[in-house]
Amino acid sequence: MQARGVRTVSFYGLTWAMPMVLWQLVFFVFPLCFLLALTFWLVRNYRMVPGFDTVNWVKMYSRGYFWDAFGFTFTMALLSTAVTSILAFPCACALAFRTSPAVRRWAMFFLIIPFFTSYLVRAYSWQIFLGDTGVINGLLSAVGVGPWPMLNTRFGTLIGYLTLSLPLVVVLQLFSLASVDRNLVEAAWNLGCGRLKAVFVVIVPLAKVGLIIAATFCFILSFGDFVSPYYLGGSKPPTLSILIVDTTKSGQQWPRAAVVAVTMIATLFAVAFTAVALAYRRRA
């Protein structure tokens, strides 16, 4: 809708764009503003009282357990991002470069199937495998080793994070790898670059944007997840999402829970912006 550099507003386009804008305003921007306001409210006799007091921020930010939870959540999300991206990459590469289009379509289908089932159910079913008397330890004890505690450990949490994000990350990586120009890869081989080296020297830089976006999704999903750290990690130690639940339960402290929530959102914004900046950074 541009003529001679003058931008004209199309009524037609605007009409169709409006529902999206309204939805975002009503269900995202307003609640977010409300959430932010909530952090300044007070709780008196288990009742929230509107106000403007920084006490919630001071209280939460001065508690050691808050920063412990923050550090733990951030570290676990980072670990999850690294493990997921590294596990997904060879798989996505194989699908992008080594398989026929038909196989790729089937693979894509199987990668999407997990989303048919609620993540809660999938995470819960891991308990059957990971418990001390579960399937895996049962097999291990049959050969005389174990049991290795896996449920209610960080390992359990990580398994949950992988369940949540691995299929998505493979799909996102696959999309970006599939658009890599094969000619450029061959050109690299032709100029003396070995096959494995070409992956890092040519394929990764070419697919960089997609790979970073996939990793960012993984971080966002893991950082905010409640199910895995609760059901598979046993809340030991609690993540920020568990902290939110605990805070609301103990003495109706919704404003302090809001402080945690706002901190999480701010963190994710910071991470997402950093990631995008990294993805689209011009070469040095």
Binding site: N183, L184, A187, W189, N190, L191, G192, V201
Partner: protein
């Protein structure tokens, strides 16, 4: 032409490449000498690109052997060969600037940064694009990219350079200029160029020898002159384009001159060497369109046919005249523009074409 006695730089020996049921290249024998400019030519799907890719190690021969410098390379990966290629798409790395693109091959060989920078700059200088060293590839024009691709391929000082239709994206003006650049570069460097193209003018303008392929088979290998004047078979004669192909029955053969009865009348050709023909046998004459003399009246000379003008086609100073012969078959003549001034050229006009018997090429085996 490879010297006899010692092994040429590149040898294809009975090389076949199949993709499933399709045969892309069939039993190819080809020897390419040191410092030779060889063009592999043919229409799309003829196997010329597959041939080049096998040389680069991007495809493996299904049968036969490829040797470079006397060494069998069938099993060598692309990275283990020194056969840089200039790609049809140029395949410059978009995430590297011009200088780093040129440095790539050196970097892969572990050359330290200062040395490779110096070499890359020297090559950019040689290609007259040194001032673009820090540019993004996306900011370059087609011709500039071409030069970057050449510099990138040549920076490792290979003995052989592969070029896969590198000019198909350039406009006609630039093609002519780049041809001059390439031809001079090849002479100066003295290395072997293997150039794949569907364009006859590119191949003929630059190559010492051309290899004409069709459907995976080599139809003829020879200098542009040989291929143009003495096509090995009907396919080559037609592919080269500017030829009239006339078949007939031999009526007489004596003193090196064969006479045949054709649809256009009795025609004669001087034949040399082993092309002895017996009366009653079939024969095919090839007459170059540029060897035709035209006139408005019959001159009574031998090898004269009557034609009707259909159209004229101007390409610069050269005009191609398209005729219809008395039997309805097409006939072509090529003339300099000024040679036509004395002729009345009107569509439908009757004209007479003649040519000397010495200028007729007899297709072997037809």
């Amino acid at each position: 032409m490879p010297e006899p006695g010692h092994e040429p730089l590149v040898v294809f020996e009975g090389v076949t490449r199949r993709f499933g049921d399709t045969v892309a290249v069939e039993r190819m024998d080809l020897a390419i000498g040191e410092g030779e400019f060889v063009a592999i030519m043919g229409s799309s799907g003829c196997g010329k690109t597959t041939t080049l890719r096998m040389l680069a190690g991007l495809e493996r021969p299904s049968e036969g052997e490829i040797r470079i410098e006397g060494r069998r390379v069938n099993e060598l990966s692309p990275a283990e060969r020194d056969t840089p290629m200039v790609w049809q798409t140029l395949a410059l790395f978009p995430f590297l600037d011009v200088r780093r693109n040129v440095e790539f091959g050196l970097r892969m060989r572990g050359i330290p940064a200062p040395a490779r920078r110096e070499k890359a700059m020297a090559w950019l200088d040689r290609m007259e694009i040194a001032e673009l060293a820090d540019r993004d590839v996306a900011q370059l024009s087609g011709g500039q990219r071409q030069r970057v691709a050449l510099a990138r391929a040549l920076v490792t000082e290979p003995r052989i350079l592969l070029l896969d239709e590198p000019m198909s994206a350039l406009d006609a003006n630039l093609v002519v200029r780049m041809q001059a650049v390439l031809a001079r570069l090849q002479r100066d460097l003295g290395i072997t160029f293997v150039y794949v193209t569907h364009s006859q003018s590119e191949a003929f303008a630059m190559a010492d020898r051309v290899v004409i392929m069709s459907r995976g088979v080599v139809e003829q290998i020879g200098t542009p002159q040989q291929v143009y004047r003495s096509p090995a078979n009907r396919f080559v004669a037609e592919f080269v384009g500017a030829n009239n192909i006339i078949s007939g029955i031999v009526t007489d053969y004596r003193e090196g001159v064969v006479t045949a009865e054709t649809a256009l009348g009795m025609l004669r050709a001087t034949v040399t060497g082993d092309v002895a023909r017996t009366p009653g046998g079939g024969i095919t004459f090839v007459v170059g369109a540029d060897r035709i003399a035209l006139s408005g009246q019959p001159a009574g000379a031998g090898n004269e046919v009557r034609l009707a003008l259909i159209s004229e086609e101007f390409i610069g100073s050269v005009v191609t005249l398209h005729f219809e012969a008395s039997d309805g078959s097409p006939f072509r003549a090529q003339k300099q523009q000024r040679e036509l001034d004395t002729l009345a050229l009107e569509v439908g006009a009757t004209m007479w074409a003649s040519w000397p018997a010495e200028d007729v090429h007899v297709l072997p085996g037809e």
